[in-house]
């Protein structure tokens, strides 16, 4: 207990701020999930689990859940694999490599609203450059109605999310890779380990903490991705890019059913917890998950 007290000056200020400006408003928000508050009126009624029943049966909620899982899978796969492949090539410190890392990171410094604008143009079927480009290089059959075809719209948005965040993940992986002691790799190489066995025996296990951060950050981002969907498709066409965060936004601020929005948030939270838990299990990164 003495240890605990001694450390208090370290965690107390953070916890206090966090409790006041995050936990308290969040719990208040969740409290509304048991009410029929519209987000505006001074009064509301306590309605027990009615919202939970309503949301769990809601057709649009189901659609957004399925879309969100698709979105997550697409981003998780593309973002993690591509950024790892890139990072493996970017650990050295030559001028060119430093410049490349900076370049890849570039989209990250743009706000997601701007990124949404940029890609809306590129995807645009009449004014856009992507289809025009594909036609010019003789791949016109690849041209798509990127955001207008409800079968692929969610993946088009996912590609943008990956575009914007791969650079960030590269940086994280590079940091992880650079922290691997060179002697370890060197001695393994002297023992005659090949490129692939070197990666799977030494690099990957030591990269686990970085990978865990990348994977869980990516997952959570894929659920929180709001600005991008909001600016690019607004959830359409016909609900095909509606994800949980846009559903929550819509029910809180467009439909004036704040109670339902709070309820959806509880489901949202439960879902992310489960997925994150499974991920940690899968990656077996006991060292970081406590």
């Amino acid at each position: 207990m003495k240890k605990w007290m001694k450390l208090m000056p370290f965690w107390a200020p953070g916890l206090l701020l966090y409790a006041l400006f995050f936990i308290y408003p969040t719990l208040t928000g969740f409290y509304y999930s048991f009410t029929d508050w519209d987000g505006l009126s001074p009064s509301y009624r306590y309605i027990g689990f009615d919202n939970y029943a309503a949301v769990s049966q809601d057709i649009v909620f189901h659609k957004s859940l399925v879309n969100n899982l698709k979105f997550m899978a697409a981003i998780l796969l593309s973002q993690t694999v591509i950024s790892l492949l890139l990072a493996l090539r970017l650990t050295r410190q030559s001028k060119a490599i430093v410049a490349l890392r900076a370049l890849y990171f570039l989209p990250t410094v743009l706000s997601s609203v701007s990124v949404g604008f940029i890609w809306t143009f590129i995807y645009d079927p009449t004014l856009g450059s992507l289809n025009a480009l594909l036609e010019r290089v003789g791949l016109s059959t690849w041209a798509q109605n990127w955001l207008g075809d409800s079968a692929i719209a969610i993946f088009s948005v996912a590609a943008v999310q990956a575009w914007a965040h791969i650079g960030q993940m590269v940086i994280l992986f590079v940091a992880g890779l650079q922290s691997i002691p060179k002697e370890l790799l060197e001695s393994a190489r002297l023992d005659g380990a090949g490129r692939f066995s070197l990666f799977f025996r030494i690099t990957w296990p030591l990269l686990a903490p970085a990978a865990a951060i990348v994977v869980s950050y990516t997952t959570i981002q894929s659920f929180k991705a709001f600005d991008l969907v909001f600016t690019m498709t607004g959830g359409g066409p016909a609900y095909s890019t509606e994800i949980l965060s846009t559903y929550i936004y819509g029910s809180a601020f467009l439909s004036y059913t704040f109670g339902k929005a709070a309820t959806a948030s509880v489901f949202f939270l439960a879902l992310i917890s489960i997925i994150t838990f499974l991920q940690f299990r899968l990656l077996r990164t006991d060292r970081i998950s406590y």
């Binding site: 240890k3 605990w4 001694k6 450390l7 000056p9 370290f10 965690w11 953070g14 916890l15 701020l17 966090y18 006041l20 400006f21 995050f22 308290y24 408003p25 969040t26 208040t28 591509i82 492949l85 090539r89 410190q93 430093v98 490349l100 900076a102 990171f105 570039l106 989209p107 410094v109 743009l110 706000s111 701007s114 604008f117 940029i118 890609w119 143009f121 590129i122 450059s129 575009w163 791969i166 650079g167 960030q168 940086i171 940091a175 922290s179 490129r195 903490p209 951060i213 959570i220 929180k224 709001f226 965060s245 936004y249 704040f258 709070a262 948030s265 939270l269 060292r287 970081i288 406590y290």
Partner: protein, 271 residues
């Protein structure tokens, strides 16, 4: 050999993929609206700064810029200090306490901000803190705690235990350990986290939108919103705004990237 060429190809292709859309944005910032509508991909007839002039003419862009800088710098600095301390406490606490603290903060990562937005706003009203940049900084710091605690404690876990324990044997207190050993060793991690946070805070729209009312206190992204109309959007002007907002971050990143790399070299973890 083949693998080498393949990976070079991958690096080049991805570089092109990043650059092309950004090039379109920069080019568009120099075009007039009719030019843009006529052909969104063409080069502007003349490379003049008319959109930039219009942007800086109409409003106190420098004041917005200053507000953004103030909010971002103070938020990130406070964030690193506060979250760094929490992460340190997590690292040094017993298993139970560490687990509880970490779980409590990490849980915040999962909360969608639309839930706490309205209660947060009314809380600040009750505290009488509406339209204050100080409140914005405090809220930003609090809201980002889950992310930064998560990142920093992940990083700190990789520090060699022996070093800390060696310090303890020498009789160093927690503050000394933190300032003399942990922070220097963590410099690259702190820089990486700072880079993350800088971007997030600089571009944040939700909380400034919620908490700032006065014209004199707008941050850049908030000011940019004014260029979007209900039905008409002046895209060249809007994209000029995007360029102006992003430029300082790009410059800063180049700088941070260097710092980040030299820090990573200096803070070698050989122990």
């Amino acid at each position: 050999m083949l693998l080498n060429w393949l990976s070079r190809l991958l690096l080049a292709a991805f570089a092109a993929l990043i650059l092309a859309p950004l090039a379109i944005v920069v080019i568009t910032a120099f075009k007039t609206r009719p030019e843009f509508y006529a052909d969104p991909l063409s080069l502007p007839a003349s490379w003049t700064f008319h959109n930039f002039a219009a942007l800086f003419d109409g409003q106190p862009m420098w004041a917005y810029f200053r507000n953004s800088v103030v909010v971002t710098v103070f938020s990130v600095a406070a964030e690193l200090l506060i979250a760094g301390c929490v992460a340190y406490a997590i690292m040094r606490s017993g298993k139970r306490m560490a687990g509880a603290l970490f779980a409590l903060f990490a849980a915040g990562l999962m909360v969608p901000s639309h839930v706490n937005m309205i209660p947060l706003y009314s809380l600040l009203q009750k505290l009488g803190w509406s339209n204050s940049l100080t409140a914005l900084v405090l809220v930003t710091v609090s809201v980002l705690l889950p992310l930064s605690v998560f990142m920093l404690s992940g990083f700190m876990k990789t520090l060699p235990r022996e070093l800390l324990e060696a310090g303890e044997i020498d009789g160093a207190g927690h503050w000394t350990t933190l300032v003399r050993i942990v922070f220097p060793l963590c410099a690259p991690f702190l820089a990486a986290t700072a880079a993350f946070l800088f971007v997030i805070v600089w571009n944040d729209l939700l909380f400034p939108m919620l908490l700032i009312n006065g014209k004199d206190k707008l941050t850049l992204p908030l000011a940019l919103l004014r260029f979007r109309g209900e039905y008409i959007t002046d895209y060249p002007l809007l994209l000029t705004g995007v360029v102006v907002t992003a430029a300082p971050m790009v410059v800063l990143f180049v700088f941070l990237q260097r710092y980040f790399i030299s820090g990573a070299l200096a803070g070698s973890l050989k122990g």
